[in-house]
């Protein structure tokens, strides 16, 4: 399998006034197309920072990131936004749904940026909701759904525009065991059956077991990669 994500000598430095915080140091990493990678590490080690760089939410201080052959480290804010809309799906710990919109409308959001007509947008959103098993909750607002259901709506939103890459930042961090299992099973299914490449940050070793690779980040450096117990 070819590398979907190719990271070379990646550094990220935050400057706060005079203070210079180097969060990531010279990271080299490749993630293969169709891989499911779990990213673990202590709090503050830079996991979210790395994930945000991979997802094109932020730009590195130094180094190179290519996703599907596209250099995203050099893109400006506007270009990055457009790139994200077409290539990445995001899942966060706290679901990040818009509370005033129904599940259906939330899932439809990324499609607003496409040229798809309204009927087509609704249809695609419905299919995505069906895929996560929430077709019957389409008209519910986030407040009317459980945490696990909200996270599944968020996953539907992440896949609705059919991106190759899903980045997930502690997707089960706020869920009970059963809901976490549902969400992880869903992610695994998306990886296996739909070929989505997934990078997932997690603190939970049980969650990491669903991944095919585990990476460890410590103080901004990748320390060792271990094959997940198959």
């Amino acid at each position: 399998m070819s590398a979907l994500i190719e990271i070379r000598n990646l550094s990220k430095v935050y400057e706060r006034g005079r203070q210079r915080i180097e969060v990531l140091h010279h990271i080299d990493l490749e993630v293969a197309q169709g891989d499911f990678v779990a990213l673990m590490g202590p709090s503050g080690s830079g996991k979210t920072t790395l994930l945000n760089l991979i997802g094109g939410l932020d730009s590195p201080t130094d180094g190179k990131i290519a996703v599907a052959g596209k250099r995203i480290d050099r893109l400006g804010q506007g270009q990055l936004a457009r790139w994200r809309a077409g290539h990445v799906g995001f899942v966060f710990q706290f679901y990040n749904l818009l509370p005033m919109l129904s599940a259906q409308r939330n899932v439809e959001l990324p499609l607003l940026l496409t040229k798809l007509p309204g009927a087509r947008r609704r249809q695609n959103a419905a299919v995505a909701l069906q895929l996560v098993g929430l077709a019957d909750r389409a008209t519910h607002k986030p407040g009317e759904l459980s945490g696990g259901q909200q996270q599944r709506v968020a996953i539907a939103r992440a896949i609705v525009s059919d991106p190759t890459l899903l980045v997930c930042d502690e997707p089960t961090g706020d869920l009970d065991r059963q809901s976490a299992t549902d969400v992880l099973t869903l992610l695994q299914q998306l990886n296996r059956d739909h070929g989505k490449t997934i990078v997932m940050v997690t603190h939970d070793p049980k969650a990491a077991e669903y991944a095919s690779h585990i990476l460890h980040l410590d103080k901004g450096t990748l320390v060792e990669s271990a094959e997940a117990a198959a």
């Binding site: 945000n52 932020d58 994200r84 809309a85 995001f90 966060f92 990040n96 509370p99 005033m100 919109l101």
Partner: protein, 385 residues
């Protein structure tokens, strides 16, 4: 338009807050609509303002009763009266009684007191020099296809000539215009002197007097003084402002426009502070949501537009409702009190102006919060920073 539901959703988020914000916008534009209508009436109608500077003295018994010419010099001497003229209803018709129009025998200084009737200077001079000269309004001239130089025979319905003839002939020497009140262009004026010399009866009497006064605020005092001249005589008079209401208004509010602008300035200033504050608060609460939109690929400009659209939407919703209320109120007031209340109906140009104002205020109010939303960095928003 596909983003409309996003805008609705954020407005619906705090229904009470949106309601009260809307209410303040409605109130502001209701006030704007009403004041604009009053202001329009005053600024358009220089006529009403002039009317406030004119008094009319009629016989107490009614318009059809005449007054002696001897009153002229007495009225002229009343303090506060700047000029006096007089008019007499002639009641002639052209060819056929159904061709009715207003025609008056007037004093030679009549046009001095009605400067809104615009007569070319040469025609005015010709009128002054022609004993049988007459001046007609442009609309009347059009109606009967009259041009300067025509001889106009009027049949007298009241006053035959001494000679016994029922037809009076006039030389048309001038055509006047009144650009603000086209309805005033349907009249004919000629010399009272000619009328008085030739009429079989009614000589030495006039229909009513018109006085020009310097200060509308003195109109009541001057009117009493004029009426006192004829007290207990056989020709008691009644002196009134030609538009009592306008006189009151104008004398109290010398510069309606300035007052209106000041009030509206204060109202809109308050409105901008109020809605600006609300919008800022609303956007601050929604920072995480704006961050989500950006995460999903909404551009900075897209987020800017959404926030601006939201505040413009509030202004438009409230503003249009306010203007509609104002329009309804104006037509109600006019239906009830008629033309005595100086208000212009809310028309297309008032609507356009107010909608422009709504958009402008909406943009002004939304500008800062929108800029904040635009500058928001996704990673900061996601981390709650």
């Amino acid at each position: 338009m596909k983003y409309l539901h996003l805008i609705w959703a954020s407005l619906a988020r705090h229904k009470a807050r949106t309601f009260f914000t809307l209410l303040s916008v409605v109130a502001a534009f209701l006030l704007f609509g009403l004041l604009d209508s009053v202001n329009g009436a005053f600024s358009q109608a220089g006529h009403s303002v002039r009317d406030a500077h004119r008094l009319i003295t009629t016989s107490k018994m009614g318009l059809t009763f005449t007054l002696p010419l001897s009153l002229y010099s007495q009225i002229r001497a009343v303090p506060g009266v700047e000029a006096v003229t007089h008019m007499s209803w002639f009641g002639g018709y052209y060819r056929d009684p159904k061709n009715f129009f207003s025609n008056f025998a007037v004093a030679s200084n009549y046009f001095d007191l009605y400067p809104e009737f615009k007569l070319p200077p040469a025609e005015l001079r010709a009128y002054e020099d022609t004993r049988m000269g007459a001046v007609v309004g442009a609309a009347l001239a059009r109606r009967f296809h009259w041009t300067v130089g025509d001889e106009i025979p009027l049949k007298a319905s009241i006053f035959p000539q001494k000679s016994g003839s029922g037809t009076w002939t006039f030389d048309l020497v001038g055509i006047y215009r009144d650009s603000t009140h086209k309805g005033q262009e349907n009249q004919m004026f000629f010399h009272w002197k000619y009328f008085d010399e030739a009429a079989a009866f009614g000589n030495g009497r006039v229909g009513w007097y018109v006085e020009q006064i310097a200060h509308p605020s003195q109109s009541a005092r001057i009117a009493r003084a004029i009426d006192a001249l004829s007290a207990n005589s056989g020709h008691e008079t009644l002196t009134q402002t030609s538009s009592a209401f306008a006189a009151d208004m104008v004398s109290q509010f010398a510069d309606i426009g300035l007052i209106v602008r000041s009030i509206m300035g204060a109202v809109f200033f308050t409105l901008i502070l109020l809605t600006g504050n609300t919008m800022t608060q609303a956007v601050r609460e929604r920072i995480p949501e704006l961050g989500i939109l950006k995460t999903l690929g909404f551009s900075n400009r897209g987020v800017l537009s959404l926030v601006l659209a939201e505040s413009v939407m509030v202004l438009l919703l409230g503003g249009v409702a306010g203007m509609a209320l104002a329009a309804a109120a104006v037509s109600l007031i006019q239906a009830k009190y008629g033309a005595s209340v100086p208000m212009l109906p809310v028309g297309v140009s008032e609507w356009l102006r107010s909608v422009g104002l709504m958009a402008l205020i909406g943009l002004a109010v939304g500008a800062l919060p929108a800029r904040r939303g635009m500058r928001l960095r996704v990673v900061d928003a996601l981390a709650g920073r």
